[in-house]
C-alpha cells in the first residue's frame, strides 16, 4: 500500500470511529434536556446553557479524533 493512501484511510478511520460515541452521547444529553424543559419550562434558560456546555465537553473526543485526522492529512 502506498503511504498516501494509508494516510487517507487512517484519517477516515480516526474520524469515523471517533464520531460514534459523541453522537450517541449528545443525543442522550439533548433528549434528557428537552425532557427536563418539558417538565419544568421555567428553568429552561438555565438548562439550555448547561446543556450547551455539557454537549461541548461530550463533543471533545470527536474533536480530538478530528484534530488527529487533520494532523494525519495535512501536517505529517
Amino acid at each position: 500500500m502506498e503511504i498516501e493512501s494509508a494516510k487517507v484511510i487512517a484519517a477516515a478511520i480516526s474520524i469515523g470511529f471517533g464520531a460514534i460515541g459523541p453522537g450517541i452521547g449528545e443525543g442522550i444529553i439533548a433528549g434528557k434536556a428537552l425532557e427536563a424543559m418539558g417538565r419544568n419550562p421555567e428553568i429552561s434558560n438555565d438548562i439550555f446553557s448547561k446543556m450547551i456546555v455539557s454537549m461541548a465537553i461530550c463533543e471533545s473526543t470527536a474533536i480530538y479524533a478530528l484534530v488527529v485526522s487533520f494532523i494525519i492529512l495535512f501536517a505529517v
Binding site: 498516501e4 494516510k7 487517507v8 438555565d46 446553557s49 450547551i52 456546555v53 461541548a56 465537553i57 463533543e59 471533545s60 474533536i63 480530538y64 478530528l66 484534530v67 487533520f70 494532523i71 492529512l73 495535512f74 501536517a75
Partner: protein, 267 residues
C-alpha cells in the same frame, strides 16, 4: 496536500499559517493580520456603541445589551460569589467577544479573497485567527497558568497540597488507611496531568471546530461544478452556528475551571 491530489480544483489548504513578511526577526503570518483586523473591528464597535450610550437605550444599544445581560447572568450564576464574579467577569466577557468576532471573520464578504504574491504562489492576506492553532493554545495556556498562579497566591501550601497529597500518608493509623492514603497520593499526581489535559482540550476544541467548518465549506464548494452556488449555504449556516457555540463554550468552561481550581484553596 492529499486532498489536492484527489480534487484538483480545491485551493491549497494548510494548518500552518503563511508568513506574509518579517518584522525585526518576527514572522508576521496571515493569522496575525486577521487578529489585528478583528481587534480593530471590536474597537470600532465598542467606540461606536459607547458614543451613543444613554440610560434610555436606543434600538442598537438594546441589541448589544441583550447578549451582554444574558452572558452576565450565566457567569454570575455559575460563580455564585457576587464580589468575585464582578472582579473576573471582564476577562470572560472579553474572551467571549473576541471569539464571537474572530470565528465569524470568514463570513465577512471580500476579506478572505484578498491575496498577495509570496514567491510565485498566491497567499491569503487574512486568515481566521482561531483556525490557526497558535491563538487557542496561547489563550488556554494563559488561562490555566493564571488560575494556578491565583490559587498559589491565595494559599501556596494548600494548592500544592491538592496535587501532592502527602499529609494523609503521615496521618494514617492502620494499614488500610495507609493504602487509601497512598492511592490518594497517586490520584493527586494524576491531577497534574489533568491540568495539562485542560489546556489541550480547550484549545483543540476551538481549533477543531473552526477549522473543520472552514474545511467543510471549501470541500463542498469545490467538489463539483454544480455545488459552487447554493449547496454550501446550509454548511455555512452550520459553521456560523458552531462558531457561536464555541465562542460561548470557551469562556463558560474557563469559569468552571476557575471555580474548580479555587475551590481546593478556599475551603
Amino acid at each position: 496536500m492529499i486532498i489536492n491530489n484527489i480534487l484538483l480544483a480545491i485551493p491549497p489548504l494548510s494548518v500552518k499559517p503563511d508568513v506574509i513578511f518579517t518584522l525585526f526577526g518576527i514572522n508576521i503570518t496571515n493569522s496575525i493580520l486577521g487578529m489585528m483586523l478583528v481587534n480593530i473591528f471590536i474597537l470600532l464597535l465598542i467606540f461606536s456603541v459607547r458614543k451613543n450610550m444613554s440610560i434610555v437605550p436606543s434600538k442598537i444599544q438594546t441589541l448589544f445589551e441583550l447578549p451582554f445581560v444574558w452572558f452576565r447572568d450565566t457567569v454570575y450564576s455559575s460563580i455564585k460569589d457576587e464580589k468575585k464574579a464582578k472582579r473576573f467577569f471582564p476577562m470572560f466577557f472579553s474572551l467571549f467577544v473576541l471569539f464571537l468576532v474572530a470565528n465569524q471573520l470568514s463570513v465577512v464578504p471580500m476579506i478572505m479573497d484578498i491575496t498577495t504574491n509570496q514567491g510565485g504562489n498566491m497567499v491569503n492576506l487574512f486568515k481566521v485567527p482561531t483556525s490557526d492553532f497558535s491563538l487557542p493554545i496561547a489563550l488556554s495556556l494563559f488561562i490555566i497558568i493564571l488560575f494556578n498562579i491565583m490559587a498559589l497566591a491565595i494559599s501556596p501550601l494548600k494548592h500544592i497540597g491538592s496535587f501532592i497529597k502527602i499529609v494523609p500518608v503521615f496521618k494514617a493509623r492502620s494499614f488500610a488507611q495507609l493504602a487509601n492514603a497512598l492511592l490518594e497520593l497517586f490520584l493527586g499526581l494524576l491531577d497534574i496531568i489533568s491540568e495539562i489535559a485542560k489546556v489541550v482540550s480547550l484549545s483543540a476544541r476551538l481549533f477543531g471546530n473552526v477549522f473543520a467548518g472552514e474545511l467543510m465549506i471549501i470541500i463542498i464548494t469545490y467538489i463539483a461544478s454544480f455545488t459552487n452556488f447554493i449547496v454550501p449555504i446550509p454548511f455555512i449556516v452550520l459553521s456560523i452556528f458552531s462558531g457561536l457555540v464555541q465562542a460561548l463554550v470557551f469562556p463558560l468552561l474557563t469559569v468552571q475551571y476557575m471555580a474548580g481550581t479555587l475551590a481546593n484553596v478556599e475551603e
